[in-house]
């Protein structure tokens, strides 16, 4: 059977000594999609990514990449993957060109150097400046190029635009979209909500070593709390609205205007509202940033 998932994890559990970092991470990334991986610091993003590449090994659970187990077939898996680590380190006594040639040799010299030059040009990377003299952003560009240069089937990038200026960030977004258009799957972690909104087809949110949400950005907005402001033609008894499951009356004004907070679907509320003389309805959806901050806040509250 054709494998539909580029990445599939089941019940990943990872301890660092006595500290548990992952509590059973289940994740599915379909082939050809761009998935954003959001989470606060220490949530388990990097640990999950490093388990995928067999850099660290989970104590429990399974990882499958295009149907292969990275523990049993690490070389076959890595042939298909382009990886950009969150903390990129390079050999400082080399030039970018020599560094990339070394990486190309590790891939069996199957790299198209015209494509490498093209990538370098797009993100303004000088291949002949010694790495030790490069800024963090320029080093990050080397990381981006090495991840993309063999046109991988799967790109795994841990905060890909870290240290890059906004113009180059846009170029990287373009490159990732181009890769997807050419059939690649992209799995990237980020703190930048705008980046996830701009790029991702789907988002997974990890908190405290658990995936707490997995949806596309618009679904995610729907699934969370939103506010509704209703105006009525005449004064009505608003208590009836407050009794609906998932609905909370936040504010009312003379029985002619109400602000509600809603969680879940709107079906019962709409049916109830049909009994009232409604003149206007306004739904306020939270931004992805607000959703993410809400999860952050819950995380911090749990920590306290």
């Amino acid at each position: 059977m054709e494998e539909t998932f580029a990445i599939k994890t089941e019940g990943l559990v990872k301890f660092y000594g006595k500290t548990q970092a992952l509590f059973g991470v289940d994740l599915e990334v379909e082939q050809g999609e761009i998935m954003g991986f959001l989470g606060p610091n220490g949530a388990g993003k990097t640990t999950t990514i490093r388990c995928l590449l067999d850099l660290i090994r989970p104590q429990e659970g399974n990882v499958s990449m295009f149907g292969l187990d990275p523990f049993k077939d690490p070389v076959d898996v890595r042939k298909m993957v382009g990886y950009l680590p969150g903390e990129l380190s390079l050999e400082t006594n080399m030039k970018p060109k020599a560094q990339l040639k070394y990486y190309a040799e590790l891939r069996g010299n199957s790299i198209d150097w015209n494509y490498v030059r093209e990538l370098a040009k797009k993100i303004h990377l000088d291949l002949n400046t010694p790495i030790k003299t490069l800024s963090k952003g320029n080093k990050q560009k080397i990381g981006v190029v090495q991840a993309l240069m063999h046109k991988p089937k799967l790109l795994i990038m841990d905060e890909p635009t870290s240290g890059l200026d906004p113009l180059i960030q846009q170029e990287v977004y373009k490159l990732l979209k181009e890769a997807r258009e050419n059939g690649a799957t992209v799995f990237f972690s980020s703190h930048i909500i705008g980046e996830v909104e701009a790029l991702a087809d789907r988002v997974a949110i990890i908190r405290g070593g658990r995936i707490i949400e997995e949806a596309n950005p618009s679904q995610l907005k729907l699934m969370t709390m939103r506010q509704m402001r209703i105006r009525f033609k005449e004064s009505v008894d608003l208590q009836a609205l407050d009794n609906i499951e998932g609905v909370e009356l936040l504010h009312k004004m003379n029985g002619v205007e109400a602000t509600l907070q809603i969680k879940g679907d709107l079906d019962k509320l709409i049916k109830k509202l049909a009994e009232f003389p409604v003149s206007d309805i306004e739904i306020m959806r939270p931004s992805l940033e607000e959703i993410f901050l809400k999860y952050y806040k819950e995380d911090q509250e749990e920590a306290i």
């Binding site: 000594g17 590449l53 104590q59 690490p74 070389v75 990886y83 680590p85 590790l106």
Partner: protein
Amino acid sequence: MFTEFKHTLRKMKGSLLGWSIGLGLYGLLMAWFYPYMFDSGMDFAEIYGSFPPEMMAFFPSIENIASPVGYLDTYFLSYIPMIIGIFAAGACANMISKDEEAGILDLLLSYPVSRTKMFWGRFMGFIAGLVIVLLVSYLSWVIAPPFSDLGFTLMEFFNMFVPLFALLVLVGGFALLLSMLLPSKRMASSLTSALLIANFLLVGLSNINENLQPLYDVTPFAFFQGAGAIDGINWNWFAGLLGVGLGFTLLSWFLFQRRDIRVSGEGSFRLPDWLRLKRK
């Protein structure tokens, strides 16, 4: 594997150059110095005989210093193995752990190269580096004979380096193993070097305190032939030193296979995480 082999040699080129030049010049100097030393009319046996026995104990061949074998033993094979051993310890402790601590290994292991190939490619790079250093040292001694009077054949000089090679593989293998077990490469190379120096001191101390002899008898230097190899290599000792060295290396490979690669920086003392594995 060949890529890692080449890369290891490329990374070692500075230290290889330094060690080769240093040992090469030392070999040339000592080989050339030999005839002049004994033509000067000084009675070295008498001079050395006046030294305290505690010092003489570290150079057991000093009484025969006027003989070529005694000269080589005293000026080359007594303490030079310890010094080249520090090179071997440093090179092997750095082999994997340096890149891991620098955060480079994280990215390298995302490439389609197995840990086995990476490990053995790098180890073979170290062996090649070691051979280069020893070869330069060997050449420095064999170039000199026309002017000096040591009188050994090329093969006899070569024999002198064979046990040294085995000893250095053992030292390197041990440092590599420690780098897999201890939190940092710095600790692995320091501890290996300290043990190497301790072993050298034990060689001398066991000559003046017979209670230390049983301890000395189980150390690597007890199986190191020194200049005695010129007359014929003790292949059992050679195989023993090399075998233990390769045993340490195999154990290091086993540990590397199961190792959780750190993002960067030094580690800490704790039981390896792979011992907790339930899945595999």
